[in-house]
Symmetry: C2
DNA sequence: TTGAAAGCGCTAACAC
DNA sequence: GTGTTAGCGCTTTCAA
């Protein structure tokens, strides 16, 4: 491998320029260990003057710390990685890590046999962010990963979680549907095995019970295609449904397409609401009522927590807000 | 920093198990330098038996090579990073790098003063993938980056380029519009400064001239909002327009929304076509005719080329195929 | 074809 | 407070 560019300025250079030892320079720069005010200043000056940039690779080697943040998405097949939601998450992680000189990797984690040991053993891995986490995944987290793994969705005693307030979002949407006169509200759910989508179903059941409304659940899988199919099934079974709450916007767009095929007017005959507020929710016809999902913020917080090895509360919940549009 | 987990198996262990020196083991594993067939086999066996994984950090330090792939998106403001297209690109890079133990970083590059030197000097940077590249950006690529930088879009003598066949896609779409009887075709373009979108405009002009059709260009910026505004402007100026070709699907969805507001039937009164074939192109109403854009493949190829420091042809073009749906 | 030895640039014990 | 001294795990001359 060729050396590109001239020799970089090293800690050695800084130390020499400041008239101290490498160790002292290191202490000042990393902020660990003691140093007299004078030396501190001289080292800092040297750093500035030489435009010294610590070599992160050497640092990582000496620290035995990795240099990439792995976004591990749990799923039944590698194609979970094709989801725009994943893309958004990775992009957020890639942006959050950049200032730390840490890159993001995207990996599929088999739902049945999550190979988390490999990640734990891989010295290039600085930390892991779990997506679509299941109980089984959490159980498979090796202790070597403790302190540098977080989950988006459900967490555990050893794995802190960061998530949007799913329950609150569902409640807000359903209350809105109820308030606008809907009484036969169906829900298209996420995949059964994905716990992060359970809470919205719980909210749905609770509110239905409280208001004395019927429970009409159809299983989806977060995809528009399934939302589309599920809607046809739903209309066959409960033709008088007057609102559909979809677990996410992609599903809701599928719902909208199916209703159109079926000749139903939205929101005249039937209202539709989603969740996530993806960019295209505003562009569908009719524009989709939904609730916001601050993915970027969530991932940013999660990534930052991992990178700082910060002690975080076991659960951090991000608020969601209702976005009213034409579909309800 | 704490050491997590037990000591990893190192090259030393492998060498010992194989009864050779570290140097020899290294040669066999990296595939550089000579080694007798017997030694080769013994080292390989040891690797397998011990489940040895090279420490990428140490490797990077010894090689003086970085460990992250930077996706540098040129734009006027950091918010270019919010584009779903960027997200897709980063995700693809993050997935492509994972097997190499290389993560992806996402960074904004100012169009006016691209700080590429910083990237060149940063030892943690293994390579750079330029997005939305301009001539000025290419001119600013420091020689220290040669061989480990590629561009998605236009390239230069020193920067190889990977891109979709923009011209071909435009031609296919416009021919399709013409073949279906459209004769007053308008185009909503991308931002003026973005050369990667020029080729489709060129195709548009060429075909219009060849067929004796009027040229009706309106400037957009890849966003749905601008597509929306541009359409209203366009209809005011040329009310008899019978087709709109949008530079990308996001723009086309904005066009669709504007036409709906204006009471025009699609495709009855006016046809609409986009480009990219994003997931939601199939879900709009009417579903959008477009042409495919294999972003994942392109980025994968680009990333792989950088990671392998492979000598690639100056320009690699990926084919696009027409996707006919209801909007035309 | 192989091994010894010298780094890559940094951090962290440990002694002063 | 500060410097000396060992590494971190790998690659790569250079001799043999």
């Amino acid at each position: 491998m060729k050396a590109w560019g001239e020799r970089q300025t090293t800690l050695e250079d800084v130390a020499k320029a400041a008239g101290v030892s490498r160790a002292t320079a290191s202490r000042v720069i990393t902020g660990t260990g003691p140093a007299s005010p004078v030396t501190r200043d001289r080292v800092r000056a040297a750093v500035r003057q030489l435009d010294y940039q610590p070599n992160q690779v050497a640092r990582a080697l000496a620290n035995r710390s990795g240099f990439r943040l792995v976004i591990a998405a749990v799923g039944t097949a590698p194609r979970v990685l094709d989801d725009p939601y994943m893309h958004r998450a990775v992009a957020a992680a890639a942006a959050a890590g950049a200032p730390y000189g840490v890159g993001a990797s995207l990996q599929w984690l088999s739902r049945d046999s999550p190979r988390l040991d490999e990640l734990a053993e891989d010295r290039s891995v600085r930390g892991v962010v779990l997506l679509n986490t299941t109980e089984a995944t959490l159980a498979a987290v090796p202790s070597a990963l403790h302190g540098r793994v977080v989950s988006i969705g459900i967490g555990s005693r050893t794995v802190p979680s960061f998530d949007v307030d799913n329950g609150g979002a569902a409640t807000a949407i359903l209350n809105h549907l109820y308030a606008t006169g809907r009484r036969r509200i169906a829900m298209v759910t996420g995949p059964q095995w994905m716990p992060c989508a359970w809470r919205s179903v719980e909210s749905y059941r609770r509110l239905a019970r409280a208001a004395g409304l019927p429970v009409r659940l159809v299983a989806g899988d977060f995809s528009a295609e399934r939302g589309h199919q599920a809607t046809h099934a739903l209309l066959r079974r409960w033709p008088d449904t007057d609102a559909v709450y979809a677990v996410n916007d992609a599903t809701a767009l599928g719902v909208l397409a199916a209703l159109r095929e079926d000749g139903r007017q939205v929101p005249g005959d039937i209202a539709v609401a989603g969740f996530d507020d993806i960019p295209f929710a505003a562009l569908s016809s009719p524009a989709l009522t939904t609730a916001s999902h601050p993915v970027d913020q969530i991932i940013h917080a999660a990534a930052t927590a991992v990178l700082n090895e910060a002690s975080v509360p076991p659960t951090v919940v991000f608020p969601s807000t209702l976005v009213r549009r034409q579909s309800t």
